[in-house]
Amino acid sequence: MFPKGLPVFITLAFLFLVGLIIWLWPEDRVNFSTEVKPILNKHCISCHGGVKKNGGFSVLFEEEALAPTESGIPAIIPGSPNQSNLIKRLHETDPELRMPYQKPPLSEQEIEILRKWIKQGAKWGDHWAYEKVAKPEVPNRPQWKEGIKASTLDAFVLEKLEENGLQSSAPESKGRLLRRLSLDITGLPPSEGLAKEWKTGQVDLDQVVDTLLSDKAFGEKWASWWLDLARYADTKGYERDVSRTMWPYRDWVIDALNADMPFDQFTIEQLAGDLLPQPSDTQLKATAFHRNTMNNDEGGTQDEEFRVAAVLDRVNTTFEVWQSTTMACVQCHSHPYDPIRHEEYFQAAAFFNNSRDEDTHDEEPKLRMYEATDLAEIETIKNWVKDFGKKEDVRFYGDFLRFQEPKYHAHLCEDFDKAELIDTKWLGLWPGGSTYLRNVYTGSSDLLLLNYWADVDGTKMSIREDGPDGRVLSQFVINKTNGRVTRAIPFLPVDGKVDLFISAENPRAKAQQNTSAIVWFAFVPSLPGKDKPGHAGMQEKFISLLNQKPLSLPIMGENPSFMQRETRVFERGNWLLLGEKVEPKTPAALNPWQEKWPRNRLGLAYWLTDKENPLTARTVVNRVWQQLFGRGLVNTLEDMGTQSDTPSHQELLDYLAWQLMYEYDWSLKKLIREIVLSNTYRQSSQITPAILAADPENRWYARGPRIRLSAEQIRDQALASTGLLSRKMYGPPVMPEQPEGVWQTVYNGESWTTSEGEDRYRRAVYTLLKRTSPYPSFISFDAGSREVCLSKRIVTNTPLQALVTLNDPVYIDAAREIAKKMHTLSEKPQEAIASMYGSMMLEEIPPAKLQALTKLYEQALENYRQKPEMAIELISQSEQKNKNTLAAYVVVANALLNLDEFLTKP
């Protein structure tokens, strides 16, 4: 019997062992982030997650996905795919039951991934971009091509090229490479000197790149990129869209980029420069980043509504700019795709909800940029306070002179009786009129500073405690003023917070006439050392400085403790439906908060620039890469969340993010340098049919980037090629020529006055940007109107663009200058054209192109010989000599400026 059973036993044992091995054999682990989550996002989450949780099932958060659904049991049972309704429902034949509902079924392959994942325990994983940046292993690819060493960057690219069966292209020709580098780094064509040195081999590639990076034009070029993100404009937006002074911020950006300010510091100063200890004026200027939000002056609008709109815009912009994260979704509900919850939006908003700005007409707080003599006076006042007052008073008085905070705006007044809020902005009391300003903290001040103007004399003003019968705190007379004044008025010191009852009497004014227009109230004690000789003069100096009207820039400032606002969740995103109170906090799915950071904007900036933050460095690398290659390593520049495009080169992105933080100490110039020195960047941009078929988007970089230039580059290049371009930097925005009648904004007396002299030909970054009516030729070439943060300009190709470069007077001016140059280049038109082409494109003109352009020259010359009066019109000068030749050259130059290769980065 026994021997008989032996084979059975062996068989059983064998089977058992096989089973054991199969059971223990590591089945390929399914990667949640790269395999499972994309399937859930693509097919499931629109009905089961975030807004909708059909059947009580959501795949957004782990605990939701594993929780019982409406059916009472969970849809996912870890380890048991066959028991899991998720899998069952994918296989259903009844169309009412089969998921995804009324949509094509999942592929067998997709179902298999989900099945395997559930079998392996349905473990949730982090999205790749939410994991801390680690230094990836560099692929072993020492050679780019025969005899050419691959850089680290190249090695990552080579690996993917191989995987996709592609080969890199030959290096770009010398001239075209220089043009590419120069346009990318400075936004301008290279100088003649540099082009010559490069051509003759006097400088090598490293030197060229360093020369370009140290050119001041670098900051001007890259500022356009940053200003799109910062939504910088020179007007306030909305109905009246009047001008605002923001350009000192633009100049700050140019300087910071030129100085290669480390990106972490660049971040901290813009988000929270005001909260740094003893911030400099420059650091305060940086905070204008978040004052680029729009400001509504339309009569009848509630300032609070638009203050809130600005705060939310700051949240959305901060998260888009630094985290490639779409926070706007979370304003109304938990994020439909990313692990960010509804209340986390308002926790993030709480960081921004305590800034002083309140959508007032004057856009306070503003940094007052005094002239040198006034600055000296401020120092004497500060010294006085240092001598006779307390130490902290020095900063208080100094800051009040710098940005006049804290103060109470007229729009806080309520319960108007025979009084109004003029144009919903300023307090207007009629004769016998009154209003309340409640919950005011005067800091026991003995002075009220009142900012107002008045058109009538003899208004008796009273300010009482609590109400009409309260104690009189101040009584004074308002007379006619010459414009706006800030006046110091004696005030009875009161402790703690107080309600003020403000009233006016004036028997001479008409019944419904405003006796004055009050803009704001502030409580600033008179300077210390009252008993000291010279006090009165010092106090007068203080008030007189407050009445100066220096250039002022809107900045961020934080509320003092007595002005703190609570932040509450908005139910369904509605600012009038307030829910639970929240505290400043960052989303839990991202890097942890360190307790040493203050719970304010400064702490938020530290959190964003912490090396633990997974998104900041990746985001900036991705965007710099896109500026150079026209496409991000993650193509969705605005979003690196779970709905984003799968990165083409995730390791490369991580490598560069690592370099940026750990090797380059956040230097953007070093990052750019590494990229443009790579073989990948320096490839020829020729597109063979094979490359086009295999990789139409140039996702794998088998060729160099070939992209239409930006609106700014197109204008700047045209002007630079002719020598017309002014290299003057900084200052108020300029108005180059624009067609008449383009500006027609209502209730806005401003008009477009063409700038004079070299200001007509400044770099595009200095052109005035009016949000409701941006410079038309820039808009045609896809520049934005900067109302909200813009991560990526979509490049279009339209007939209106052709009309701009063909007919816009700027381009005709440029063509005239080119014509003059051509005229001096050679007696022979063919040589002149070839030579001009060579200096514009930095390569020799192919004979067929020269033939086409020479033919145009001859046609034009013939045309002007027959109609010489038209030649005079075109060259726009009365000079008769050579007019026909000159005009024919203008025509050729017009064509040159319109060539596809001229409008495109080679």
Binding site: G300, E420, T745, S773, L803, N863, S876, A895, L903, T904
Partner: protein, 502 residues
């Protein structure tokens, strides 16, 4: 220009030959400026029976992002003329007849109506203001129209009224943005750019989305009301002007004749073709195409914008004012543009903000003059479209950004020298006519004072949903990805107003 056609054919041929359909589509997508049309294409992709001709049409779009596209379902209208009275006319003097309000004229407004509501300028308790015009019923439909609009009264049977439209924005800028972009904040694409993005346009020598303004000013919210927001800029409205160049930079520079311009464009394109042969970038082909279109546009736009060649009876019908920037001229232009295949014509007429602060904004004075300016032209537009058989597939929309209060304005609590009405969001009148609209109908009713809706209340999103429906789109599926999420014109709202559909 045979050479170009050959190149185009060659490109198409190669694409069709070398690639599977999926790759082909994706490639088209990639070249249309980022992933511009991805959502539309994916909806095509779910239909495996996509005809080959449509595939060619898609590749045409590579070369020209405005090439005509079929909508996802059968449309009722193929073009839109949208007449916006910027500032917002009073429904109570035009269409919403409230006999009871006559009785209450001068009486204090019931406080129950004011509770919890905000107005732009009214403070405290204002008085009610009776209708300043007299009403009669007109046409077979018996629609009530006031004596301010004698000509329009004759065409009421072409129109479907919406008498209980509401909005949630009571200031001009945000309310106009809301009406045209579905959001009160700046940054979203306008209705016209959505439609042009979805459908392209029939006539490649004219812009697909044209804006005409009158009244001396552009709307309060500025050019953003016809902006393309996050859609590619090619879909934004192009303002055609009656003074200066009809389109910016349309005119050749002084000293360059038409013939010479043609030589210039030929030379540019010859060089660009050589460039294409050498570098193989499809964008170069697209640019060649755009330069030819620009040249044709320079001829066709001035032609269509010139109304002088229209017969005298047409001028009389519309009451045009040649040489001026007039609403009547713009109505005639709108007809001409749509006739020539323009997809969306947006008119803005400024000056309807009848607060009663002066003569021009008094509801019984200046407002009446404004009505005179639009009455004949609007009636003419509807009649003219009809007589040409164009009303069947042209949708005409009329309205402001909100309505006016049944109360007389008391600005900041003051008594005012003229009769005026403040901004009103609760209920106001709009109307539509033409393609797919149930003519001679009316939907929605307000209470006896004309303050709020009692039935048929519709929102701005509902109007957008309805317009998109008529143009062949399901508003819930017509999306565009931006900042990491799909956006819709109607956000998460919008119901089609079936009651006014034919």
């Amino acid at each position: 220009m045979l050479g170009l056609e050959r190149l185009l054919k060659e490109l198409q041929h190669r694409q069709l030959e070398e690639q599977t359909r999926r790759h082909f589509l994706l490639e088209c997508v990639s070249k249309m400026g980022g992933l511009a049309l991805a959502p539309l294409l994916f909806s095509c992709e779910s239909n495996p029976k996509i005809p080959a001709t449509q595939q060619v049409a898609l590749s045409q779009r590579t070369l020209n992002p405005l090439s005509p596209q079929p909508p996802p379902h059968l449309p009722k209208a193929k073009s839109i003329i949208y007449l916006h009275m910027a500032g917002s006319p009073s429904q109570l003097e035009l269409f919403d007849f409230k006999p009871e309000l006559v009785k209450y004229d001068g009486k204090a407004c019931p406080e129950s109506l004011l509770e919890g509501r905000k107005f732009a300028f009214i403070r405290g308790v204002p008085n009610l203001l009776g209708p300043q015009s007299s009403f009669r019923q007109h046409g077979e439909s018996g629609a009530w129209v006031s004596d301010y609009l004698p000509h329009f009264s004759k065409v009421v049977d072409e129109v479907a009224f919406l008498k209980a439209v509401h909005t949630d924005q009571f200031n001009h800028g945000p309310a106009q943005l809301f009406m045209h972009t579905g959001s009160p904040r700046l940054g979203r694409p306008s209705l016209g750019s959505w439609v042009t993005y979805g459908l392209g346009t029939e006539n490649q020598n004219l812009p697909g989305f044209v804006v005409l303004t009158s009244g001396g000013k552009t709307p309060d919210a500025g050019k953003s009301v016809w902006g393309s927001g996050f859609l590619p800029s090619v879909y934004q409205g192009v303002q055609c002007r009656s003074k200066g160049d009809p389109v910016l930079y349309l005119q050749d520079p002084k000293g360059i004749s038409r013939d010479l311009k043609q030589n210039i464009i030929s030379a540019i394109n010859d060089v660009n073709k050589l460039e294409y042969e050498q570098y193989g970038d499809p964008e170069t082909l697209a640019r060649i195409n755009q330069y030819e279109m620009a040249y044709r546009m320079q001829i066709e736009v001035p032609e269509v914008m010139n109304i002088n060649d229209e017969p005298a009876y047409i001028h009389e019908l519309y009451g045009t004012k040649p040489g001026e920037e007039a609403f009547a001229n713009n109505c005639l232009l709108a007809r001409k543009l749509v006739e020539k295949g323009v997809r969306f014509v947006q008119l803005f007429d400024w000056g309807w903000d009848s607060h009663g602060t002066d003569h021009s904004t008094a509801i019984d004075l200046g407002f009446r003059n404004k009505c005179n300016e639009i009455d004949r032209p609007i009636a003419a537009l509807l009649m003219d479209l009809k007589q040409r058989g164009m009303l069947e597939d042209t949708l005409v929309v009329w309205g402001g950004e909100f309505g006016r209060t049944p109360m007389q304005e008391n600005r900041e609590g003051k008594t005012m020298g003229y009769k005026g009405r403040d901004h009103h969001v609760e209920a106001f009148t709009m109307w539509m006519a033409g393609g797919g609209i149930k003519n001679g109908s009316s939907f929605g009713e307000t209470d006896e004072l004309g303050f709020g809706a009692v039935s048929g209340k519709v929102s701005v999103h509902d109007i957008h949903a309805t317009i998109l429906q008529l143009m062949g789109f399901n508003h819930e599926q017509f999306t565009y990805d931006f900042q990491g999420r799909p956006f819709r014109l109607t956000d998460v709202e919008g119901h089609i107003i079936q009651e006014i559909l034919a």
